[in-house]
């Protein structure tokens, strides 16, 4: 287990399980701090008001997943999370 490994929330229902991992956000918690877009530039851009726009596709393993994990770990509001389907 690497340091600061983000907690993963399991989806019990909803989208069909297909073994993919998705980067998600609770927008009601997010304060638009913006660190995430620096740590995960391949997956996150900021909108006109500084709030993150997430790539909705499955996060590929490797570089993108490492970026996603870093962004989740760094979010001061804990608004970002990874969802395994």
């Amino acid at each position: 287990m690497s340091r600061g490994k983000p907690k993963v929330r399991e989806a019990r229902e909803g989208p069909a399980p297909d073994g993919t991992t998705h980067l998600r956000i609770d927008p009601s918690i997010c304060d638009g701090v913006g660190i995430c877009s620096h740590l995960a530039p391949d997956l996150i851009t900021l909108d006109s008001w500084g709030y993150p726009i997430l790539d909705t596709h499955a996060v590929p393993r490797g570089r993108a997943l490492r970026q996603a994990e870093a962004a989740v770990a760094a979010c001061p509001k804990k608004a970002l999370f990874l969802q395994h389907l």
Partner: protein, 435 residues
Amino acid sequence: MSVDAGAPEIAPSQMRGILGAEVAIVSRDDTELLTGVRRHDLVTHRSEFGAHPGTVVGLTARLLDDLGAVALTGRGGGHFPAAVKWRSVAAAGTGGAVVVNGAEGEPGSAKDATLLQTRPHLVLDGLVAAINAVQAVEGVVWLHEGAEATTGSVTLAIRERVAAGEPDPPIRVVLAPSRYLSGEATSIIRTLEGGPTLPRFVANPAQPWSDGYPTVLVNNTETMARAAVVAARGAENYEPTSLLTVISRGYRRVVEVPHTVTIGQVVAEHWADMPHGAPSAVLLGGYGGSWVSWSDIASLPVDIGALRSAGLSIGAGLIGPLPSQACGIEEASRLVRYLADQSARQCGPCVFGLAAVAELCDDLTAGKLSPSGRKKLDQFMAEISGRGACRHPDGAIRMLTSALQVFADDVSVHRKGRTCGARVYGIMPLPGEGT
């Protein structure tokens, strides 16, 4: 079992339905003053709709199948299949609550108030049938605080049932703050869990309650009344109808129509301005719905499937015709401002995005929107959709997107540094504006 294909057309005169041929007249900004439909007391209700659902042998076993067979969808606006939702809650566990959502947040709509004030026992029968079907332990009637006539009718109905010794599970009335988003399903669930009455983000839409909390099934008032009709009459005798609220400048009408009727026929019969000419367009579904030009919408039936094929939804059943003397873009801008103000102020894209869009819409109607401002408006609209915890911002953007298309002529007049000079304002009612 299916009643979709080949079902005999129902002439409105033969329709039994929920309201039947009765038409409710409701004031523009207040559902407290409602006339035209007689209230069913418990005795009348039982003679029209039969025995208490708890006493019908085999009902729980067949009801879920019957809801699927008649393809009942959520009439709060989302039109999610009721049978799928009920099954999902039943599968998640027993012992929770079922909520009938009567906090009619859609400011133009009055159908739920009409049902609760005139057919309260039908709604409560649906609630009881749902409690039994998903094996919940209690029922909640969720109403806006200040909706005194509606609350009075529901509490009287509960007293009538207790006095008659009807086998109801525990049912309580819960009053919500009188705001647009109080009727959002996650606002309700959050409140029942002891939290604030605000929408919340759910990672898994099939399980909108929090881990460790009891299951909650939330259905709109009309959905619940329709479930009661299916329970009472069976899928094969269920008449596919919809309750609609038609907005005129002096009052609103709530009517029940079979799905073969066209929107043109509904407007011709129930819109007060029709003798002065057809509307230029109709706002369909709700304030987060779509504007459609009169020529495109008049021949479309009220049928949910037919509207979906045309990329439209009957939503919460709102029909808002725009008089031809009114300016569509001014009306749409007014609604965008209202929706922006009604943000729950939780999600950045909604709080800041809708406010920015409303600002640009004000510039547009004032004839002050530059070409770069127009580009900015398009960019903001594209950025906001799908990014709130609830669908509130999506609805506002959908409505504005349709307005910019349907009222393209009005837009070009306003963009040339002028205004359109329309003499008619404020067609759609907004809370607190008076009539």
